[in-house]
């Protein structure tokens, strides 16, 4: 589904953040990318989602047999790529329901499917709200405005549940969550594991991985994947710390 080959990216000021990433993600798999602060985790998510401000200086990213880097951000999303933000953006004046319906219908139009009318949309929403333990009142508010940290993260996973992406990248979705919120979010993610869907979780800590068990774990350090393994690698990392990985590499 996703093939990253020797991906290098730098900031406008010339600082190279990604220094040759190789990663293969297949449909049905859950990958965890772990690493210390500043290792390039969020930059990788941003480059995959199409955020401006990064220059890809080398390498390729193939997504569903297409050149991902050649697509604008909105087209990537319509092709089934989803990014759950580490810091979800507040949109004052944009109603959450209206926003979500616009997003779903943009994607449906792209796939040549009929748009959802208000009634169909509402039924779809209600089914998923329960999953994320979100009250309907949250949907009547402006997107993320006045939401607590936990509400913002749940809203991200709720959007994922509504948009049903092929590839979901979750950027530090566990950060800032208390244990109850973490459970709810994890349940939401687990419910969305599917044979035709891949999930990439980017995280600093192992604790989310206790609830969402990954098939593969990668360690990112200084812009490179320095170690890969199965779920046991995450447990080991928690014990020995990232410093030891760097030494080993």
């Amino acid at each position: 589904m996703l093939e990253i080959r020797n991906l290098r990216a730098r900031l406008a000021d010339g600082r190279e953040i990604l220094r040759g990433i190789d990663l293969s993600v297949n449909a049905g798999e859950v990958h965890a990318i772990m690493g210390p602060n500043g290792s390039g985790k969020s930059t990788l998510a941003a480059v995959l989602a199409g955020r401006e401000g990064y220059e890809v200086s080398a390498g390729t990213v193939t997504y569903l047999d297409r050149d991902l880097l050649a697509m604008p951000a909105d087209e990537r999303a319509r092709e089934g790529l989803f990014l759950a933000f580490q810091y979800p953006v507040e949109l004052p004046g944009v109603n959450n329901m209206y926003f979500l319906r616009a997003a779903i219908n943009a994607q449906r139009r792209h796939r040549g499917e009929p748009e959802l009318d208000a009634g169909q949309f509402l039924r779809a929403v209600r089914a998923k709200l329960k999953l994320l333990d979100i009250g309907e009142d949250l949907l009547q508010r402006a997107v993320n405005v006045g939401f607590s940290g936990g509400e913002k993260k749940r809203n991200e996973i709720f959007q994922m549940a509504m948009l049903e992406p092929r590839l979901a990248i979750l950027d530090e979705t566990d950060s800032g969550l208390d244990i109850d919120a973490l459970r709810v979010v994890a349940r939401g993610v687990n419910e969305q594991r599917a044979p035709d869907r891949a999930i990439v979780m980017i995280t600093h800590y192992q604790r989310l991985l206790g609830y969402v068990e990954p098939d593969h774990v990668h360690v990112l350090q200084d812009g490179q994947i320095v170690e890969s393994g199965d779920k046991d690698l995450a447990v080991e990392l928690e014990r020995r710390g990232y410093g030891a990985v760097g030494d080993a590499a």
Binding site: D74, F82, A103
Partner: protein, 442 residues
């Protein structure tokens, strides 16, 4: 030129003087005398000078170079084109409606029956003929701004308008709609003058919509008197033709504990200016002023407001939003004055603006003049582009760039519409905004 004038005349005013002589009369003498005084004032002053602070942000040269003269009554017939435009512009949920076509009351399109007792709603010309007592005082003791050139020109030439008079305690909770349609497009000026008198404790909500076709100059003046405890909510929706000039003026005097809520949406027209001058004469007034302009092409718009707190305890809230794309130019000028002795006044003003292209511009000029020492007054102004992080967030959900921009612009402007209490009216305004934004090019 037949009239013998004994006052100085500015050259640009001359064609208007001549046009006055050609107009038929038949009005009461007190009105004629008033018109002649106003005409003399206009002749002396000429067009507003761009060097004057209140007019520095708007370009009136096209108006000055080619006179746009008033015309007399054309006829009563409402043709198919006017009817179509009326249907496009009208607010379907209005409880009462008064329509003016080319500045004249059009009975055929209006619906003013069934008003509660104690309420008068009629065309200004009809009112002058049938109930002169409702308007005569306003002419003979002009309360503010009689000296302004276009206000004077309006007094000299207005043919019609609307008059709303409410007895004490009357509540009109369902919206009244006034529709101004321009159909001739022949470069004439349309002068309308309206009067609202809200008796003590009365309440009303009014929507004034301006629309038209072709080239014309609209010069509209509304005088508003709110008695003690009266509550008046006014929405102005300007959707004039792309070749039209629109000069709108609101003159309001607020009695004790009166409440005025005003929303001005300037969405279309070549050059549009709205000025509100509000004198808070009574104590404990509440004044809620909101407005927005959405401009593209080479449109120009100017929102000007002056709130004069002459009594203690008043509260003023102002929020104005500006959007300018392409080569458009907008400006906001807002002055709040607190006179000596007007203690405990609480006044806040906010001007927020989006400039969407390098060749567009918005000027914003807040002014506070405070002569009392125990007041709370503040203002803020910002000019910027759309938030890149917000745009990216929308795009990562699959929403195309242009649609994402429109969503964010709508979100920016709708803050002023969201405060409209009537849900059907709010939906109507949001739909008009969406229609305007769909036409907005980058």
């Amino acid at each position: 030129m037949s009239a013998v004038v004994d006052f100085p005349v500015k050259p640009q005013a001359r064609p208007y003087l001549d046009a006055y002589d050609r107009l038929p009369s038949g009005e009461p003498e007190w009105l004629g005398a008033h018109r002649r005084r106003a005409l003399a004032r206009f002749a002396e002053k000429g067009f507003p000078d761009r060097r004057s602070e209140a007019w520095r942000y708007i370009d009136l040269r096209a108006l000055e170079e080619q006179p746009m003269l008033p015309v007399g009554r054309i006829g009563d017939a409402v043709d198919a084109a006017v009817r179509k435009r009326f249907v496009e512009a009208a607010f379907s949920e209005a409880a009462y409606r008064l329509v003016l076509v080319d500045g004249r009351y059009a009975a055929e399109l209006s619906r003013v029956d069934g008003l509660p007792s104690g309420v008068w709603l009629g065309g200004t010309a009809t009112t002058i003929a049938e109930r002169p007592d409702l308007v005569r005082a306003a002419f003979e003791a002009p309360h503010i701004n009689a000296e302004r050139p276009f206000t004077a020109l309006n007094a000299a030439f207005f043919g019609d308008g609307f008059v709303l008079d409410m007895a004490p305690g009357v509540a009109l909770d369902r919206p009244i709609e006034i529709v101004h349609l321009a159909s001739m497009g022949t470069g004439a000026s349309l002068h309308t003058r309206s009067f609202v008198t809200a008796g003590p404790g009365s309440r009303a909500l009014i929507l004034e919509t301006f629309a038209g076709a072709g080239r014309y100059w609209r010069n509209d003046v509304v005088e508003l008197q709110l008695a003690a405890g009266a509550e008046f909510r006014r929405v102005v929706l300007v959707e004039e033709s792309a070749d039209a000039f629109h000069i709108g003026e609101l003159l309001a005097v607020l009695g004790p504990a009166a409440r005025l809520a005003s929303l001005v949406l300037l969405l279309a027209g070549r050059t549009v200016r709205h000025e509100a001058t509000i004198r808070s004469d009574g104590a404990q007034t509440q004044c809620d002023l909101q407005g927005a302009f959405v401009l593209s092409g080479r449109q120009e718009a100017n929102i000007v407001s002056t709130v004069d707190h002459a009594a203690p305890g008043g509260e003023t809230r102002e929020v104005f939003k500006g959007v300018a794309a392409e080569r458009a130019h907008g400006a906001f000028q807002g002055r709040i004055t607190v006179r000596p002795g007007a203690q405990k006044v609480d006044a806040h003003q906010l001007s927020q603006n989006l400039v969407l292209s390098p060749r567009a511009a918005i000027d914003t000029k807040p002014e506070l003049e405070i002569y009392a020492d125990d007041v709370k007054c503040s203002h803020g102004a910002a000019v910027g582009d759309l938030d890149e992080a917000a745009l990216f967030y929308l795009r990562t959900r699959g929403i195309a760039h242009e649609e994402a921009r429109r969503m964010l612009i709508a979100a920016f402007v709708r803050e002023v519409i969201d405060r409209v209490g009537s849900a059907p009216l709010r939906e109507h305004l949001l739909a008009r905004l969406a229609r305007r934004l769909a036409m907005l090019e980058k």
